[in-house]
């Protein structure tokens, strides 16, 4: 450890303007009892890049992730601005209560960390971390993540197959299989079209009918929805 510090210090001395390369590990835990995370995008990037920003309209790529779980657009975007990414570290859905790791990850000169994944079952809810500064000092750092609403789709809470396509209204899937059907729809409006903290799911207690296809006793949540432990080596 000490030797490494000295080496880094010497490098900084030789090249004062360059940021030091860092190797980190990132552990992500789904803290909820009833929500699934679609494939995660974990990106290390420069200060000027963002996967999303609260109060700004979602990009097309963010919309595709938040409504359908598709991270390919965001990953391409990130790579085009020099980011290094770990795509889908959990190898599919991160189930309620489960954890996944990105191990021994060389972030190069990128010193900001962002994370996104869609929350299922929601219309356009996602778990997010926006441009967290990776500390240069070795150690273990814990942060808690909130659920966000992309602001791109009304939260009607109806499970509709194929509705993961951007702009198609509905929740594309409920992996837990514990939702209802034939709801009339909670709302047709999304008042805030910018990214904001998700107000949570309403749900109802009816298997069939009611306004929502979701179960109010199972599919609600309180923030935080994820815990992230970053180890800087």
């Amino acid at each position: 450890m000490k030797i490494k510090h000295i080496l880094i210090t010497s490098l900084l001395g030789l090249c004062a303007s360059g940021a030091a390369a860092e190797t980190i590990s990132v552990k992500i835990t789904n803290l909820t009892q009833g929500l699934y995370f679609t494939p995660l995008l974990v990106a290390a990037h420069s200060e000027s890049a963002h996967l999303f920003e609260v109060g700004s309209e979602a990009s097309e790529q963010l919309q595709a992730m938040a409504e359908g779980g598709d991270i390919s657009g965001l990953a391409t975007l990130a790579s085009s601005v020099g980011a290094v990414s770990s795509e889908n570290p959990a190898g599919g859905l991160l189930t309620p209560g489960a954890s996944t790791m990105v191990m021994d990850w060389d972030t190069g000169s990128n010193d900001r960390l962002s994370i996104v994944a869609m929350l299922l079952p929601t219309n356009d809810g996602f778990v997010g971390l926006d441009s967290w500064t990776i500390p240069s000092e070795a150690g273990t750092y814990t942060i808690m993540l909130n659920g966000y609403d992309a602001g791109t789709e009304a939260n009607n809470e109806l499970v509709v197959e194929g509705s993961g396509a951007p702009g198609m209204l509905g929740i594309p899937a409920n992996p837990g299989g514990n939702s209802g059907s034939d709801g009339t729809g909670v709302t047709t409006e999304e008042g805030n079209s910018t990214v904001h903290i998700h107000r949570g799911t309403l749900g109802d207690a009816m298997e069939s009918g009611g306004t929502s296809d979701l179960n109010s006793s199972i599919h609600r949540w309180l923030n935080p929805v994820a815990k992230v432990v970053i180890t800087v080596q």
Binding site: L31, T32, Q33, G34, A98, A205, W221, L222
Partner: protein, 242 residues
């Protein structure tokens, strides 16, 4: 720190010598005072005051189970099944089994329910140890199996007089479905059953999703809008006093 320990040790040894001398005076001289075969040692101690404040609107907190232990053991973890003691604590409010099943340097069980807005404090003496963590759990009594607290929270770095505090999250033990019916909630809002050994929920601990209540469409719920909560059920403040 080292100087202080030596000072304390010296003081303790002086006290012991004094007591031995006194005892000698009372002997009837026919029995020689036995020579001590070992040097008396004074165990260095740390003392903490643990203050709890109920920060909910209408969720009384059951008597807390409090453990100071060596770092590295968690009384619960996200995604894993609750222990038997934690199940009892989260469903009935009783901390006894939870405290009994953990190995600890010091353990305390509360005796009173802590009502919203009120505070309570506990003084805990702990023998010196290379690491020291606090684990604390308490049920939100107007729920099926919600509890709040901290697990394996490092308190070893507290210097004398120093404090640290945390606003604790609310967890769901995952051992009882959140039906919210009067028959299944032991708190004053319902007066129903506490512990039931059947596990009819997901059977892993995670963050609590909140209560729905009868005012938000769950007609079978014994709870009202007043029983809803958000994260931050108890403010835990630990102060090192010795």
């Amino acid at each position: 720190m080292k100087l202080k320990r030596i000072a304390l040790l010296t003081a303790a040894i002086s006290t012991l010598s004094f007591l031995t001398a006194c005892g000698g005076d009372d002997d009837d001289d026919t029995q020689p005072t036995p020579e001590p075969t070992m040097e008396p040692t004074a165990e260095p101690m740390r003392s903490f005051t643990i203050e709890l404040k109920n920060t909910t609107n209408a969720q009384p907190l059951a008597p807390a189970g409090i453990l100071v232990h060596e770092a590295g053991s968690s009384a619960w973890s996200i995604g894993s099944a609750a222990s038997a003691g934690l199940e009892v604590l989260a469903e009935s409010g009783s901390p006894a089994d939870f405290v009994a099943e953990q190995s600890a340097l010091a353990a305390v069980s509360g005796t009173e329910v802590l009502v919203p807005g009120q505070s309570v404090s506990f003084d805990v003496d702990v023998a010196e140890s290379s690491s020291m963590s606090l684990t604390l759990a308490s049920m939100l009594v107007n729920t099926n199996d919600a509890f709040t607290g901290v697990s394996d929270w490092d308190i070893a770095d507290l210097a004398m007089g120093e404090s640290k505090q945390v606003s604790a999250h609310i967890y769901d033990a995952g051992t009882e479905a959140n039906s919210e019916t009067a028959a299944t909630i032991p708190g004053p809002a319902a007066g129903g059953e506490g512990f039931n050994a059947a596990r009819d929920d997901v059977d892993f601990v995670a963050m609590h999703p909140g209560v729905v209540t009868q005012d938000d469409g769950l007609s079978s719920s014994a709870l009202t809008e007043a029983h809803r909560f958000n994260n931050g059920a108890v403010l835990i403040r630990v102060t090192r006093t010795h």
